[in-house]
């Protein structure tokens, strides 16, 4: 059994994005999703600092210090892209204009609660950024995170233990082990990696899992 790499996780999340969708990618691993957008689909990336139609990192020699993404890395603009100010950018987020938000998380609950801004032990100043706005305003919120913490802690939980970012907002979770939907009656396993069964996955998961009848093997390319 080989868990997905971070790039494979990002690849998997990218496959669900549809032609014409407006998508906000959170900082960290979700940013990698932009490297795996399926060819042939025009997916418009939104960056909270005021960009639509954001492209990937610039080629050497084409860097522009005034053009960055939400994670403060250098970015580019695609033809058809636009710049606008911050308030208009968050109007898009808060007003339900972003089709999909993909964020990292510490925990997700069986009812779709999201915890991704504060831990219980804060030696450093916590930051919330745009996470609560996205949780409240994006049409769909999907989470991309390791199935378990580095200490083995369970991150998909019956109820979150950490401070919430938003309630009942997450619809799908991509982990290094599985793809899980937050359905009306709980967490449904849609895909699992080769060599894993639902009993083994359940042991790594606090929330009660149901296996979809049509579940599939999660088989990413080597990345």
């Amino acid at each position: 059994m080989t868990p997905l790499t971070r790039r494979q996780m990002a690849w998997r999340a990218a496959q669900d994005l549809r032609d014409g969708q407006y998508v906000n990618l959170g900082i960290g691993m979700p940013t990698l999703v932009s490297d795996y957008l399926p060819p042939g689909r025009e997916i418009v990336l939104h960056s909270e600092n005021g960009i639509l139609g954001m492209g990937g990192a610039p080629r050497p020699g084409e860097e522009d210090r005034d053009l960055i993404n939400a994670g403060k890395g250098l970015a580019t603009l695609l033809p058809g892209g636009a710049f606008f100010h911050h308030n208009d950018s968050f109007l898009m987020i808060r007003g339900g204009h972003i089709d999909v938000s993909i964020m990292g998380a510490y925990e997700v609950s069986a009812s779709g609660d999201l915890a991704n801004w504060a831990t219980n032990v804060e030696t450093l100043a916590p930051g919330v950024g745009g996470a609560m706005d996205l949780a409240a305003g994006a049409i769909e919120v999907r989470v991309l995170m390791e199935h378990n913490g580095k200490d083995g802690s369970k991150r998909i939980r019956q109820a979150c233990t950490l401070p919430l970012t938003g309630k009942s907002c997450v619809t799908r979770v991509y982990t290094n082990l599985a793809v899980l939907d937050i359905a009306r009656d709980g967490v449904v396993v849609r895909e699992m990696i080769e060599g894993l069964d639902v009993e083994a996955l359940q042991k790594l998961t606090d929330a009660k899992l149901a296996l979809a009848n049509d579940w599939k093997k999660l088989t990413p390319p080597a990345l």
Binding site: D19, L52, L77, A82, F84, R94, G95, H97, G137
Partner: protein, 220 residues
């Protein structure tokens, strides 16, 4: 591939239904999407609510739509613009409900809808009869009135140029309500003078990013 350009009024207005709220751009005749608005008359829809700063002039555009009897209600700030024959007749016969809203509040209510704001307090009109029946609150010693978001099922707007992503620019004061209504419409349809190649609009000068636009139709 994203291509928001549609061909013909049927495609532009597809999905409009009885009871829908239409946000109609324009300040007076300038920036009004005459062709789109008049195309609504040919549809089998009724009980519309029309949101427009004015009530149209003469027998065209919003005035023609109101005269057609398809609108049950008008939400506006200043119904009687030049040649207000249609609204004068409807008003005399009490044949339409008019909700009169201060112009800035009209604007702000649509922005609230566009931006996911559940409601806001404003001083405009707070100490007048237009606030009667509404929640009032004193904030920092000044009387405010609570106003709610104003959503549109359709926004029918006019722009100058568009690309296939729906990015829009306007001409001079024809901009007026159009970018705002584009943001506040569930389905936003833009009547434009001209389509340009993707990338031809300056990304620093795009007024309405395509995210707010669903359909684009070239019409005179």
């Amino acid at each position: 591939m994203i291509n928001k350009i549609v061909d013909g009024f049927a495609a532009a207005l597809a999905g409009m239904k009885d009871g829908d709220t239409l946000l109609c751009g324009g300040f007076g005749a300038v920036g009004e999407a005459f062709a789109l608005i008049e195309a609504v008359i040919a549809l089998d829809v009724r009980d519309l609510t029309v949101v427009c700063n004015n009530a149209g002039s003469g027998l065209v555009g919003v005035a023609a739509l109101l005269k057609s009897g398809k609108a049950r209600k008008l939400i506006c700030s200043y119904p009687r613009s030049s040649d207000p024959q249609v609204i004068d007749d409807l008003y005399a016969r009490r044949a339409i409900e008019i909700e009169l809203v201060p112009q800035g509040t009209l604007s702000e209510r649509m922005r609230a809808a566009a931006g996911g704001i559940g409601g806001f307090f404003t001083r405009a009109g707070a100490d007048t009869q237009l606030a009667d029946g509404k929640e009032r609150r004193e904030i920092d010693g000044k009387l405010h009135v609570f106003e709610k978001p104003l959503h549109g099922d359709f926004a029918l707007i006019k722009a100058h140029r568009a690309d296939r992503w729906g990015n829009l620019v306007y001409r001079k004061s024809a901009r007026n309500f159009n970018p705002l209504m584009a943001m506040a419409g569930k389905t936003t349809v833009a009547q434009v003078d001209e389509i340009v190649e993707l990338g031809a609009l300056d990304p620093e000068a795009i007024v309405t990013p395509g995210i707010f636009v669903d359909r684009v139709l070239v019409a005179p």
